[in-house]
Each structure stands twice: as structure tokens, then as C-alpha cells.
């Protein structure tokens, strides 16, 4: 396949268009700098745009993210590359970095697409929808999700049968199977790494039965079930579509657990689980919600009050890590744990179990750099060269880090961190002009 070669110049490159990357890009753009914002996903917005509400204020996550996303999308100083990846970054001098950007073909001309969804209707192929975390299916020709940006269709070429039905159905003829991978040579003055985090894959803990027991889901899946743009339009357990009555949260799944290689606290799981518990009590007033925890870490502003509020609403908090989950014939689940306050082994039956999975580093970032070394910390998050005084600085001058790429953190902290990274970047550009 022949690749087209282009060369472009920007003041700043922001890798990752989640809430941290987006915020950093906006700060730079508002100050007058030209920014290239790159994300490997088909939409900007990162993980936050998928969430239901945020803790501890219970504000709608989408209502905070989408205005920000549209501001980013319409900003004259910001260029967005979605479905694209950065590689081969070389530091040429103090104020010049070169990099390669690989733009994968979307097979849709975004500027012509009206998101009418006719291609979705025409497409005969169904696969699991990764943007709904596998709860439902989607087509191979699809709009990633309802509030995505850019709001345009994409063709999932790996699952496409090349039948051409979408092409024929498209009223604006924006589907183009001749698109090819573009490789672009990029020159920038500064770089902000905002690559975020990964969630622990509970398949690595077979004793919880995720993937085997249908009514064991992850908190991110529950997040989709209670989001305004949710797939089922109500809370259902995936096994048989029953409305669950007794819901359990298992905290510290893949965090604070050296046996699965991640000994550190994820900082967000306690609070997002408490948030979901409150939302579930609102959505299903008759349901019992139990949270099984090791310690509740409600350290942030308003967190303890939020925790007490959940207790007041009737959420059960049980101290004890879940050891094993087994499934009954009717799809209910038996959780085995030691009630630490009683010192006794107990078993409890629940309709549905939510695994509050921990935060893992987004690995491989250090491999992006060619002639410099980006140091990672002992847990493979991006290392901060001066954690206390300049938390956004990395081991490479001119490369800054924002958000959860440095370690587990919540949304307000990510935005703060993005603020720090963008001001550091601006001051770097000015100093090395």
C-alpha cells in the first residue's frame, strides 16, 4: 500500500484527547498556540465521555465533557487527529521535536458525513460494541457512540465483509473504501503526554468468574448501564435481562493486589463505586446494594460526606475482600468472604456483581521516543522528574505529562494536572523561542 507523505508544523503536540489532553490543548490554544491533538480512538473525550455522573457532586459527566469536547473541536487553533497514533519522536533541538503520525483510514469522509445512520441500518455485520463495553452489539459500519466527536460514521474494516451496502445507502456518498493509511511527518516545539490509563482486565482473576458468569460485570459496564445514553434504557443484568434486586460491588479488583502485579491503590474505585451505588438506589429504589471493601478511602474534598451520604441512603458496607464467586443455576452469584468485623467466613447471594476494577498504566509510552529516554516510575506510569515542585515535568526537557498518565487520579485532579502541564509547556515555548 502506498503511503502519502505530508509534513506539518505545530507549536504543541498533545498525545491523548481525554479530559486531561483536551484541557491541556484548550489552554494552549486559548493562549494562541497551534495545537495538534492526537487520539487513537475514533472520538475525543477519553474515558470521561463514557461515564454516567461524576463524584462527589453527581454532576452529569457527559454534560461537562460534551461542551468541552465541542469547544476543542471548533477551536481554530486546535487540529484533531482521531484514529491516529504518534511514533518515532526525536528531539532535534531544544525547541524542535520531530514525530511520525500514522492516521488510520476511517473509510468515511468526516466532513461530508451527516451521521444519519443509514449505513448502520444497511450494514449486515454485527459485532460487540467496544464503546458500550460489550453490553450490546453494533454494526461494522457505525457511529462510535451517540455523543462522539467527530460525530461521523466509521468502517470497522477488520469485521467488514466489503459488501458495499453502506456505500449504496449513504446519501452523501461519504464512504470511501479507497482511503489508505496516511503517514505524516510532524514538527512541534513541545509535547504533552496525556495517554491516560487502562482498566484492569478481570479475566486475569478467574476466581471472580468474569467472562464465565454473565451476571458478573465491570464497573465500566455498569457505568454504561446508568449513563443517560445507556444501551438498555434501564438497569438489567446481562445473563437473563432481569432487573437486579441484590447488587454487590467488589472493590480492589486488580488494585492493592500484589498477586496480580498491581500493589497500588487506584484512588477512584471506592468513590466511583459509592457513586454508582447511590445512582442505583435512585434507579432501583427496592434494590439492596452492598459494597465489599478492604478500606474505604474517601480522602478528597467532599468524599467523606459522599460516603456518609451513601450509608445514609442505605447502601450496605461490608469489610472483607471477596475470595471467590460461584454461580447458581438461576444465574445468581454466591460471594465468599470473611466479614472482618465478625471474624467469620460468610457467603452471600446476589443477583448481580460489579467488579470495581483498578487503574493500570497505559504501557508502551516510553517506546514512542527515539533519541531520548522517557523514564517511567516503578509502576510503569510516566515518571515525574520533580514530583513536588514541577509535577508536569518528565525526564525529557520539553515533554510534559498530564492526567492519569502519571498515576491513578480522578477527574478534578486530571484537569488540575492538565493545567500544570499546559502552563509548563507555554513557559517552555517562550523560554526556548
Amino acid at each position: 500500500m502506498e503511503e502519502s507523505l505530508k509534513s506539518i508544523c505545530y507549536d504543541a503536540l498533545v498525545i491523548g484527547a481525554g479530559i486531561a489532553g483536551g484541557e491541556a490543548a484548550l489552554n494552549l490554544a486559548n493562549t494562541g498556540y497551534k495545537v495538534l491533538l492526537v487520539d487513537k480512538e475514533l472520538s475525543v473525550g477519553g474515558k470521561m465521555i463514557m461515564l454516567s455522573k461524576v463524584f462527589p457532586t453527581l454532576d452529569c459527566a457527559a454534560c461537562i465533557t460534551t461542551p468541552k469536547v465541542s469547544e476543542i473541536s471548533r477551536h481554530p487553533n486546535i487540529t484533531i487527529f482521531t484514529g491516529s497514533e504518534v511514533s518515532n519522536i526525536r528531539k532535534l533541538s531544544d525547541n524542535e521535536f520531530a514525530a511520525k503520525v500514522t492516521k488510520k483510514p476511517r473509510y468515511v469522509h468526516v466532513e461530508d458525513c451527516t451521521a444519519c445512520q443509514l449505513c448502520e441500518k444497511a450494514c449486515p455485520t454485527s459485532v460487540r460494541d467496544q464503546y458500550q463495553f460489550g453490553l450490546i452489539g453494533r454494526k461494522a459500519a457505525f457511529i462510535p457512540f451517540s455523543i462522539c466527536s467527530p460525530k461521523a460514521a466509521a468502517i470497522d474494516i477488520d469485521n467488514c465483509t466489503l459488501c458495499g451496502a453502506c456505500e449504496r445507502a449513504c446519501p452523501t456518498h461519504c464512504i470511501d473504501f479507497t482511503m489508505e493509511t496516511e503517514t505524516i511527518e510532524l514538527h512541534v516545539k513541545t509535547i504533552i503526554v496525556a495517554t491516560g490509563f487502562n482498566l484492569f482486565d478481570p479475566n486475569n482473576m478467574p476466581r471472580y468468574g468474569y467472562g464465565k458468569f454473565k451476571n458478573v460485570i465491570t464497573a465500566m459496564q455498569m457505568e454504561r448501564e446508568i449513563a443517560p445514553t445507556r444501551p438498555y434504557h434501564t438497569i438489567l443484568r446481562p445473563g437473563d435481562g432481569k432487573v437486579p434486586d441484590r447488587i454487590a460491588y467488589v472493590l480492589c479488583v486488580g488494585s492493592r493486589d500484589a498477586s496480580v502485579g498491581n500493589p497500588i491503590c487506584s484512588q477512584i474505585c471506592c468513590m466511583y463505586s459509592i457513586k454508582q451505588a447511590q445512582l442505583l438506589m435512585g434507579a432501583l429504589p427496592m434494590a439492596d446494594v452492598t459494597i465489599y471493601y478492604i478500606n474505604i478511602r474517601s480522602f478528597g474534598k467532599g468524599f467523606e460526606e459522599f460516603y456518609q451520604q451513601a450509608k445514609g441512603m442505605g447502601v450496605n458496607f461490608v469489610k472483607g475482600k471477596i475470595g471467590r464467586i460461584s454461580e447458581k443455576e438461576n444465574g445468581n452469584l454466591i460471594l465468599r468472604y470473611e466479614d472482618i468485623n465478625k471474624g467469620k467466613l460468610q457467603e452471600a447471594e446476589h443477583d448481580m456483581v460489579i467488579l470495581s476494577t483498578g487503574v493500570l498504566p497505559n504501557k508502551g509510552i516510553d517506546g514512542l521516543f527515539e533519541n531520548e529516554t522517557l523514564y517511567l516510575d516503578e509502576f510503569s506510569f510516566v515518571g515525574q522528574s520533580d514530583k513536588l515542585a514541577s509535577p508536569a515535568k518528565t525526564s525529557i526537557g520539553g515533554v510534559f505529562v498530564a492526567g492519569a498518565a502519571t498515576g491513578p487520579m480522578d477527574i478534578p485532579d486530571s484537569i488540575l494536572s492538565a493545567g500544570a502541564a499546559s502552563s509548563e509547556a507555554i513557559s517552555y515555548i517562550i523560554q526556548h523561542a
Binding site: 478492604i294 475482600k321 471474624g343 467466613l345
Partner: protein
């Protein structure tokens, strides 16, 4: 009001405990343990009392014996606090506490002392052989006599009082009232657990481990019976001879596998071996093998020209009977089965 003793941890480390202070009390170990029940929950409780150093609670507890060490708790411990190995160390500690002579504790904690005892036994055997002018007939005769005397003495002077101490520490001292009738009606529990170790079948790992251990115990007891009561080495009966071959083979083949798995360290239970564990499995192996060889040499008429072989066997036997049986790991045979008996009494 219990008084805590944080320095107890140092004492327990001498018995092989590793990193148990890292425990953050999540209870995962208790929850993954397939032997743990609502009424008898462990191992976290034992980790907790060990961290606090509540020696009275540990000494009155039967829980260390109710664990059959599948290692699941250590595999899944989020803090890598190794609760399985703590339970193992508590069993060593309790063995030391039950022993009225105090020698068990000294040998568990000091390898040089243990080695000295082994060397001393070797010297004793050589001295004895020298004093009978290496006369094979005399050596075999006295060797056989030694076995009978050793069994009686060790049993009545060391093991019986120790089991009585265990009874005192776990039943009498904590003030458990048990009617005499219950002592009689529960006796079956003791016999069943002593000869079948059936509780290990409840462990989560594969049951090959139980089977291996089971045939090893049967093989060992039969070998003891054959050599001591049927006088295998001097027996004229073909059936006794063949039976001896069979059971000694079982002993050394199975223990060879035990030694191998402790070398390979693949399974959780064989990852951490204390000297007492090595001595136990290796001497059991040597005993089975040397007994087999001695009888083979007798049948091939080679023993007269290879007296050293009998001396090797006798040395292994003496070390086994005077060190490992009364003061080493052998005692778990008694304590485990009595623990199940006492647990039944307490229930």
C-alpha cells in the same frame, strides 16, 4: 485484656514465618480457603493473633492443625503476606510448645544443633558397631532390639506426655468442659483422621497430593510393622519378604517425589522448606531405600561382604527414631489427628 507482644514476630520467623506482618486484614485468605467455615474461620485470624503476639490464643488454638496447606491463601494474598507459610510455622511453633523436653524448639530454631544431634547419632552407631566387632548377626539382632526399645521409650516418655500437654493447652487450660462420654464417642474421629487424613481431601488443590500422602503413611506404618513385629530382615516367610519389598518401595518412591517437588518449588506448598522439612522427607526416603537394599542384599547373599550398607540403614534408623520422630516433623502424625479429635470434643 490481652497484652500485645510485637516482638513475637521475630520468634515466629525463626520457625519459618515470612512477611506475615504485611497483612492488611482483607480476609481474602480465609475466603479462598476451602476448609474454612463460618464456625472455624482461618487463616486470617491466626495471622492477626500472630502479629499481635497473643501466645495464649495461639497455644490454645487448634486452627493451625485444621489447615492442610493447599497454598491457595498464599497464592492469592494481595499483600504477599504468605498466610499458608505462617500456618506452617505455627505448627512448628506449637510442636515446640507441646514438647515438654524443649528439644523440639531448640532444634527447629538451630540448624547447627540439629546437625550435631545427627552427627552424635552417627558416632553412637559406629561406636556400637565397633564394640561388637562389626559382627553382622549381632548388629542386626541389636538393631532390631533397638527398634522395639526406641518405639516404646519415645512413645511413653516423649510423645504421650506431649499429647497430654496438647490436651491441657487446648482443652483444659481454656476451660472447655467436655463430658467423659464425649471422649469415648468421639474416638472414631481420632482413628479415622490418623489413618486416612481425609480432611486433606477438602483442600482445593488436586487430590493426588492426598493420595500420595495416604499411601505413603500406609506404606510407612506397614514397613514399621514388618520390620519391628514381623522381623523382616530375619524372616523366613516369602510373603513377609515380598510385603516388605512392596512397602519399602512405596516409601522411597513417594518420598522421592516429595523431595523432588521441594527442589522444584513449583507448588505453593513446596516453595518454602525449613531444615526440619528437608530432614523429614530425606530421612524417610533414605529409610525406605536403605531397608529395601538391606533386604535385597540379604536375599542375594551380599550383605556379609557389604556390612557398611546395614550400618547406613542403622544410622538412618537411629537418627529417625531418636531425633525426627520425637522432636521433628514426624509428630504432625499425632498432633494433626488429635487436633481433629479435640476439635470434635470442643464442637
Amino acid at each position: 485484656m490481652a497484652k500485645i507482644n510485637p516482638s513475637f514476630g521475630k520468634e515466629l520467623k525463626k520457625y519459618g514465618a515470612i512477611n506475615f506482618n504485611a497483612c492488611y486484614n482483607c480476609g481474602n485468605c480465609t475466603a479462598v480457603c476451602s476448609l474454612s467455615t463460618e464456625d472455624v474461620s482461618f487463616p486470617r485470624e491466626m495471622v492477626r493473633v500472630s502479629t499481635l503476639g497473643l501466645e495464649d490464643e495461639i497455644q490454645s488454638s487448634l486452627k493451625p492443625w485444621e489447615c492442610y496447606y493447599c497454598g491457595e491463601c498464599s497464592t492469592h494474598c494481595p499483600q504477599e503476606a504468605n498466610p499458608g507459610e505462617l500456618m506452617m510455622s505455627l505448627r512448628r511453633y506449637l510442636t515446640a510448645k507441646y514438647d515438654w523436653t524443649g528439644l523440639s524448639g531448640l532444634m527447629y530454631k538451630s540448624l547447627p544443633l540439629t546437625i550435631s544431634a545427627f552427627v552424635l547419632s552417627l558416632i553412637g552407631v559406629l561406636y556400637f558397631a565397633f564394640s561388637v566387632n562389626f559382627d553382622l548377626e549381632k548388629m542386626v539382632h541389636w538393631g532390631h532390639l533397638f527398634e522395639m526399645i526406641a518405639i516404646g521409650t519415645v512413645g511413653f516418655v516423649i510423645l504421650l506426655p506431649n499429647v497430654a500437654r496438647m490436651w491441657w493447652l487446648t482443652i483444659l487450660k481454656p476451660g472447655t468442659k467436655v463430658p467423659f462420654k464425649k471422649y469415648v464417642s468421639s474416638i472414631g474421629e481420632l482413628i479415622v483422621h490418623m489413618f486416612t487424613q481425609k480432611r486433606a481431601l477438602g483442600c482445593d488443590d488436586n487430590q493426588l497430593r492426598w493420595f500420595e500422602h495416604f499411601i505413603m503413611v500406609i506404606g510407612y506404618l506397614s514397613l514399621l510393622f514388618t520390620t519391628v513385629f514381623l522381623n523382616w530382615f530375619s524372616s523366613e516367610y516369602l510373603i513377609v519378604t515380598l510385603f516388605g519389598y512392596l512397602v519399602s518401595t512405596i516409601v522411597f518412591v513417594v518420598t522421592f517425589d516429595f523431595v523432588l517437588s521441594r527442589i522444584k518449588k513449583k507448588k505453593q506448598i513446596s516453595k518454602h522448606s525449613q531444615p526440619s522439612d528437608w530432614f523429614f522427607v530425606i530421612w524417610l526416603f533414605l529409610m525406605g531405600l536403605s531397608a529395601f537394599m538391606v533386604r535385597l542384599f540379604i536375599d542375594l547373599d551380599l550383605l556379609e561382604s557389604n556390612k557398611w550398607l546395614y550400618l547406613v540403614h542403622l544410622t538412618v534408623l537411629v537418627q529417625w527414631a531418636l531425633i525426627i520422630v520425637p522432636f521433628g516433623k514426624w509428630t504432625h502424625f499425632l498432633y494433626r489427628s488429635f487436633a481433629m479429635y479435640f476439635a470434635k470434643l470442643k464442637a
